[in-house]
């Protein structure tokens, strides 16, 4: 019999993200988002059966039999109850202020104030050292009052940087009340990485260590981070996924190991 007490880092990240979804919330996923998709599927099968899932911003309440090879292709929206059209449906609901309050997002660079960069590495926007994929819906989500949950399977000083090269998506800008002054509500709430869970201090809006994953030290997290983290006097340990969560993820939700591949778990 399989031992579900053992877990892999993708499983811990899925469980941690899943815990952020409240029953009845509306959530959606973007492309190449295997861990968020598995987290949604896990929440639906555990504490949040009434979670509303807009799969790939296109299929409402689908029932894929497992995490598919793409989080923006057909097997994902099997048995949907509705097909959303992006221009007239999805973005209307996303902008309304009445729906879709929480988003799981990834970024090539995230800085100490939660500003995100998916645009360019380098100083010259028009002659970048690296052209990244682009902001997609991120620049909207960051400005439209959403709660952003960042996830990062590779916590290192190049992905968590002191200052992003380019603000594709506003976090707390220079910190303090800079975001408020622009009239922007919402913003980055949590960062879930392969090493730790982080949030933002209420006043300074600087990134703060909230919990370290089992077996990871505060020093290791700080070392893997490109700026000085706020570290509370006592840092908790991130809860491990339960045996039932591991079983569901491994045997039911992601038997093909898409999340493991995404997290670099061999």
């Amino acid at each position: 019999m399989a031992d579900y007490g053992e877990y892999t880092i993708d499983e811990l990240m899925c469980a941690t993200l899943a815990a952020q979804f409240k029953d009845g919330d509306e959530v959606c996923n973007g492309m190449a988002s295997f861990i968020p998709v598995a987290a949604i599927m896990l929440a639906l099968r555990t504490h949040a059966p009434e979670l509303v899932w807009l799969a790939g911003a296109a299929g409402v309440d689908p029932r894929p039999d497992r995490v598919p090879a793409s989080t923006l292709e057909s097997p994902l929206w099997r048995d949907s109850v509705m097909y959303l059209e992006q221009y007239g449906d999805f973005w209307n609901y996303a902008q309304s202020g009445r729906h879709l309050h929480t988003f799981c997002v990834g970024a090539a660079q995230l800085d100490q104030y939660g500003n995100a960069n998916n645009s360019v590495i380098g100083d010259d926007y028009h002659r970048p050292k690296v052209r990244l994929p682009g902001t997609a819906g991120l620049a909207d989500m960051g400005a439209l009052g959403k709660n952003l949950l960042y996830w990062n399977t590779n916590h290192n000083p190049r992905s968590l940087v002191e200052k992003v090269d380019f603000v594709s998506c506003p976090g707390y800008l220079g910190g303090g009340d800079e975001r408020d002054k622009l009239g922007l509500t919402g913003g980055p709430k949590l960062v879930v990485t392969n090493l730790a869970v982080l949030d933002f201090a209420p006043d300074s809006k600087r990134m703060r260590l909230r919990s370290v994953h089992p077996g990871v030290t505060v020093e290791q997290v700080q070392e893997a981070t490109g700026f000085e983290l706020l570290v509370p006097s006592s840092v908790e340990e991130t809860p491990k996924p339960t045996a039932e969560q591991v079983r569901l993820l491994r045997d039911v939700i992601d038997p093909d190991g898409m999340c493991k591949r995404e997290a670099g778990v061999k």
Binding site: S70, T71, S80, Y87, G88, G137, A143, C169
Partner: protein, 290 residues
């Protein structure tokens, strides 16, 4: 009015320097036969509009067809980044106007409705506004709140792939997920060129008018191209070609291999049948339609 053309005639409606709005996503529903024909006709200095661009953007960058990209992202999702596009941007050969999705929708929505601009609240606080002459901050005349005014964008031509069309240009899609670009790209563009898996009699469309997504009066050219979205997916008919994507990802790292690839799959096949033979013929097609 009969709008059926050969693919050569249809792409002949596009002139160098124009802006093409291309239906596609990372691996979905791209009118790839039209993309290949753009390359074969050696179009130059085109602008390309995509919500999210995939392999098509890479090919058009590699072939030197486009010199600017307007859109929200470029990626082949699980297959990785578009390296030929990256290289073209990093080398200054393709200029990027990067817009959030609501801003792209606003620019195109204004274009569609002949309005000079539409506002969005997206992008506020990002660095994307200052570097873009097509965006500017505007005070709401009623409350004084700040919004981002997005200048109207009217592409010269939209490229769409669909399940079926009639000779008059009425276009239908099957009841499957809605391609993200279909809602606004063709409405915003001056001309609309459609490839369809099949051209049918108008009577066939009248049986399911709810599936018609574009009226013939808003379409300029119709070309029958079975498997016209290959190697991207076109549900429910066929899925994306994983092997072909992996092959491209590999060759796209190397410019010489890239040109050999384009030679083999784009320049040499004179017809759609030749192209399908080159990518693996009936055997490959059956795999994708399972």
């Amino acid at each position: 009015m009969n709008k059926v053309m050969t693919i050569e005639e249809a792409v002949g409606l596009v002139s160098d320097g124009e802006i093409v709005a291309l239906q596609n996503m990372a691996t979905q529903a791209a009118p790839m036969a039209l993309v290949r024909e753009l390359i074969r006709q050696e179009k130059r200095n085109l602008g390309l509009v995509c919500l999210v661009g995939g392999m098509a953007v890479d090919w058009l960058s590699a072939a030197g067809v486009i010199d600017r990209f307007i859109g929200a992202a470029v990626s082949m999702e699980q297959f990785g980044l578009c390296n030929q596009y990256r290289k073209a941007v990093e080398g200054g050969r393709v200029r990027v106007e990067e817009l959030s999705e609501t801003a792209l929708n606003a620019r195109l929505g204004a274009g569609a409705r002949n309005l000079p601009f539409l506002p969005t609240r997206g992008m506020l606080g990002s660095d994307l506004i200052d570097i873009n002459d097509n965006l500017t901050l505007l005070q709401d005349p009623f409350t004084g709140e700040t919004v981002v005014a997005c200048r109207a964008l009217v592409p010269d031509v939209a490229f769409i792939h669909a399940h079926r069309a009639d000779a008059r240009g009425n276009v239908q899609i099957e009841p499957t997920i809605k391609w993200p670009d279909l809602g606004i790209f063709p409405k915003a563009s001056k001309k609309v060129i459609v490839t369809a898996e099949e051209i049918v009699d108008t009577e066939v469309l009248r049986r399911n008018p709810d599936r018609t997504v574009l009226p013939g009066f808003a379409v300029d050219a119709v070309v029958e191209v079975p498997y016209g979205a290959h190697p991207t997916s076109f549900f429910p008919n066929y899925t994306y070609d994983t092997a072909f994507h992996l092959e491209w990802i590999k060759v796209a790292r190397d410019d010489e291999a890239t040109q050999a690839f384009l030679q083999k799959y784009v320049y040499e096949p004179a017809t759609q049948a030749d192209y399908l033979a080159a990518v693996g013929g009936a055997e490959r097609i059956l795999e994708l339609t399972r």
